[in-house]
């Protein structure tokens, strides 16, 4: 298991806390809790060792496409592929917007 922390500048304001997914094989759970600081703090616990670079790439790409939300995003990952991870992260941000 590996713990990874990443921080990105963020501007988007989301109103609600939200949770998406479960910690099952090939899946992850993502929890978003909004705050007032202009940054997105990401804490990942993953069963895949040596995957920091891949998570960085995923969030770099995310940041290049969307304005990131202000808050903390905690991920418990059980070997999800980048595709599944991207869907879950989009899901939790969307639910934090509408919940």
């Amino acid at each position: 298991m590996e713990r990874i922390e990443l921080t990105y500048p963020a501007t988007e304001k989301l109103q609600h806390k939200a949770l998406a997914g479960v910690v099952g094989s090939g899946d992850l759970e993502a929890m978003f809790i909004p705050h007032q600081e202009k940054m997105l703090k990401i804490i990942i616990k993953t069963s895949v060792d040596g995957s920091k670079h891949r998570w960085q790439n995923l969030f770099n790409r995310f940041a290049s496409l969307h304005a990131l939300p202000m808050g903390t995003l905690e991920i418990n990952d059980f070997a999800s592929t980048p595709g599944v991870a991207k869907l879950r992260i989009e899901q939790v941000f969307e639910e934090a917007n509408y919940a």
């Binding site: 479960v22 094989s25 069963s47 418990n76 059980f78």
Partner: protein, 279 residues
């Protein structure tokens, strides 16, 4: 929009609980945002889950106060750890307290579990013992209804918890057994029990055969609406006249009559326990 039906098995534990309770009544206790996770998994290099794989919610079912406890089978095989076990045990104990104070709280247990979480060993086993005691206490006041839908099924100490319930609802996809197939194969050999022979496994421990042999009370399709209908049927029956777990004379006599020199198979089990009235 009409009340469209959907698969029950494909839902997560939280969605199962939410969809069984009356619409809008779901209120989770110790929800994932409280982050009460297992203190034992991370030191052993295992990723935790925010709710430790246990969803406890209060709400209404058919208009009556209900506590629903749902195990998330996808997280660590629905295994019972210190935290997840304590959540279930405490919820059952509080439901019994409610009943003693005149609030008739019904209890629904969604079993999707391989039993104790090996990484938490005795703490998980102690929690399972608490759960057993709590079910035995609570079932004096209200029917305690267990549901095992699959795909994990219900094994280990939690199969005893399922056996202690006033009523048990299963699907064809579910399995119910004290030892899981791999454990039996490891202990008794592949000739005795081949854990990869799925038709054989389901012929011995599958929901359908468990129903036909009287170890479950209702068999339902994989459907949210059918599960809810089955729960209503159980609740309407009220407290059962005889509890399966009180019927030990009947079962002991059957067990003592088994010729263990012969390889057990589905026909043998049917001949011993089969209920002719259940096709």
């Amino acid at each position: 929009m009409p009340n469209r039906d959907m698969s029950f098995i494909e839902l997560s534990a939280r969605e199962r609980a939410r969809r069984i309770l009356d619409q809008g009544s779901f209120r989770e206790l110790l929800d994932p945002f409280e982050k009460i996770t297992s203190p034992w998994l991370e030191p052993q290099g295992i990723v935790p889950e925010f709710d430790d794989g246990m969803v406890v919610a209060k709400g209404k079912f058919n208009g009556k106060p209900t506590v629903i406890i749902a195990i998330e089978g996808v997280f660590q095989g629905g295994s019972m750890g210190e935290v997840s076990g304590a959540k279930m045990a405490a919820a059952l104990e509080l439901a019994a307290e409610d009943n003693r104070s005149g609030i008739a709280t019904q209890a629904l247990l969604l079993f999707e579990t391989g039993g104790v979480r090996l990484q938490e060993a005795n703490l998980g086993l102690a929690a399972i013992a608490d759960i057993h005691s709590a079910i035995v206490d609570l079932r004096r006041y209200v029917p305690v209804i267990g549901i095992t839908a699959g795909t994990v099924g219900c094994f280990g100490g939690m199969s005893i918890a399922a056996g202690l319930c006033s009523y048990l609802v299963v699907t064809r996809e579910a399995r119910l057994g004290l030892n899981g197939p791999q454990v039996i194969e490891q202990e008794a050999g592949i000739e005795e029990y081949n854990s990869r022979d799925r038709p054989f496994i389901w012929s011995m421990t599958g929901g359908e055969v468990r129903y036909k042999n009287g170890f479950a009370d209702i068999i339902v399709k994989d459907s949210v609406n059918d599960v809810k209908t089955a729960i209503i049927q159980c609740m309407n029956k009220g407290l059962p006249d005889t509890l399966r777990s009180d019927d030990y004379d009947y079962y002991l006599q059957k067990l003592n009559a088994i010729d263990t020199s012969k390889q057990a198979d589905a026909t043998l089990v049917k001949n011993i326990f089969g209920r002719g009235d259940r096709k």
